[in-house]
């Protein structure tokens, strides 16, 4: 994201509220697919610059929750505010300010690594099609020499590194990470961490099954089980590793 454009936005009317607002605020959010509720009455807030660990067993609704915050799904009920904008009505004001790294890499298999990133850079309106930024990101994740290879010929780990580059290409204010270290070896995870790790000017929502790692890397934690929030801890109230494990075991 261009800093100049951000400054223009914050100078716009209502900017004060946006500056003060949390990065993400959910209140009583429900999401149903057909008759089946996947999220039930979920509420939480994430301050700007903070990190929220989103925990829970498979099928608990973590990815659904992340997609709602990413503007890719609408909530069935409840209020969602992201970066000071109400969703889904103001989704167009949020898009371009958040980065999303999900289960799918969102990359075209018949384009090269560099072509995929250039395509994204053009969508985001980066100057000079983001050429400098792309070179810098590919170098950071150790893919500079593979920039001209088709994505379909890359290993899963390399694709995940490239997807991480895509998610931060426009320098988002909010990063939504759904198991970002999947497919990555320790070296790859370490390289990608440089892109998606903590930064004081960027909030993150982090879905991970590595409970200790996720809790150690976050200020807040939200645990979901069968679509409902079973535990929420703010900065001053810790969710213990034991509690989180119990959620996975269905004991809480």
């Amino acid at each position: 994201m261009g800093k100049l454009e951000l400054e223009e936005r914050t100078a716009d009317s209502g900017s004060a509220r946006r500056e003060l607002a949390d990065a993400v605020e959910l209140s009583g959010v429900w999401r149903e697919f057909g008759d089946r509720p996947v999220l039930r009455d979920v509420s939480f807030a994430l301050a700007r610059g903070g990190t929220l660990a989103l925990l829970g067993p498979n099928g608990a609704g973590k990815t659904t929750l992340l997609r709602i915050v990413a503007t890719l799904l609408r909530p069935s009920h409840g209020e969602v505010r992201v970066l000071g904008c109400s969703l889904p009505a103001q989704a167009h004001r949020v898009r371009g300010r958040l980065g999303y790294l999900g289960h799918e890499p969102l990359l075209y298999r018949d384009l090269t690594a560099a072509e995929n990133l250039r395509f994204q850079a053009r969508l985001y309106g980066l100057p000079d099609d983001g050429r400098g930024r792309i070179a810098e990101l590919l170098d950071t994740v150790g893919m500079a020499r593979r920039a001209n290879e088709l994505v379909r010929n890359l290993s899963a780990g390399m694709v995940q590194r490239l997807a991480a580059c895509r998610s931060v290409l426009h320098d988002p204010e909010l990063l939504l990470l759904d198991e970002p270290r999947s497919h990555l070896d320790p070296e790859g995870a370490s390289l990608v961490e440089a892109l998606i790790g903590r930064r004081p000017d960027r909030a993150r929502v982090l879905v991970a099954h590595d409970i200790e790692g996720a809790l150690g890397d976050s200020d807040n934690a939200l645990a979901l089980a069968a679509g409902g929030a079973v535990a929420y801890s703010g900065p001053s109230t810790g969710l213990s590793v034991g509690d989180a494990r119990a959620i996975y075991g269905g004991a809480l």
Binding site: T71, H92, R93, G96, Y108, D110, E115
Partner: protein, 239 residues
């Protein structure tokens, strides 16, 4: 990045939509050039169909409504091959999500896909029309104005095809759903195109009497469906 102007439809929005349009169109054409998935299949289908008509009808020349019918039915079904595949990369490779996450108006995706489909159809017709002429036409005098009729037909096919293809993109029954919804919607285009084309392919050379009315119907259909697609596309694109 969504600029403040975009929310109000200011000039910044147009500039950015144009950039997104060119990015998506260039991506689609690059992928097609690299994979050759749509256009060769369309051309092969059209040429094979002409061969079948040539020997099935046992006629060395066609004219009037029969010639128009053979040509337009072939173009229509060849177009459906491309329309079915138009959104496959967006669906299978996460393109829909990637584009929706970006500060891009849905109309840029609509316009880029329609433009890509028009490019495919023009390439198809550039090959298929001469083949059709060699197989079936005694005189080529109507071919140049026929290209104009085909271009108007392509616009209608693209506007309607993109909308229906988007609706069917997330359905497992896409291959059935798209033709089932699309073909009835295209009946007015085919009637107007056939009435225009049959005059241009008349035995003994083209006759232009009454063709203006049918071209106007074609143009009206194109404008109507382009506007409808533009108006509803964002709703179709969202979940």
């Amino acid at each position: 990045m969504t600029s403040p102007e975009e929310g109000t439809g200011g000039p910044g929005a147009r500039t950015h939509s144009l950039r997104a349009f060119t990015a998506i169109l260039a991506k689609d054409l690059r992928v097609e050039l690299r994979t050759l998935q749509a256009v060769p299949a369309m051309v092969l289908f059209a040429v094979t169909t002409f061969v079948l008509f040539r020997y099935g009808l046992d006629r060395t020349s066609l004219s009037g409504s029969l010639a128009a019918g053979v040509l337009l039915a072939t173009v229509l079904f060849a177009a459906i091959l491309a329309i079915n595949r138009l959104f496959v990369p967006e669906r299978d490779e996460g393109g829909f999500d990637a584009i929706r996450l970006a500060p891009v108006d849905g109309s840029a995706l609509l316009a880029a896909k329609a433009a890509a489909l028009i490019v495919y159809l023009v390439v198809l017709e550039a090959v298929a029309l001469p083949v059709f002429g060699v197989f079936f036409l005694d005189t080529w005098t109507g071919v140049a104005p026929l290209a104009g009729v085909l271009l108007l037909t392509d616009l209608g096919l693209a506007a309607t095809g993109v909308l229906v293809s988007q609706i069917g993109a997330n359905s497992r029954a896409r291959d059935l759903l798209v033709p089932l919804v699309l073909l009835p919607l295209l009946v007015p285009v085919m009637i107007a195109a056939a009435n225009s084309a049959q005059r241009l392919l008349a035995a003994g050379g083209p006759s232009y009497g009454g063709i203006g009315k049918w071209l106007a119907v074609l143009a009206l259909y194109d404008v109507t469906f382009l506007l409808v697609a533009y108006a509803v596309y964002d709703f179709v694109l969202e979940d």
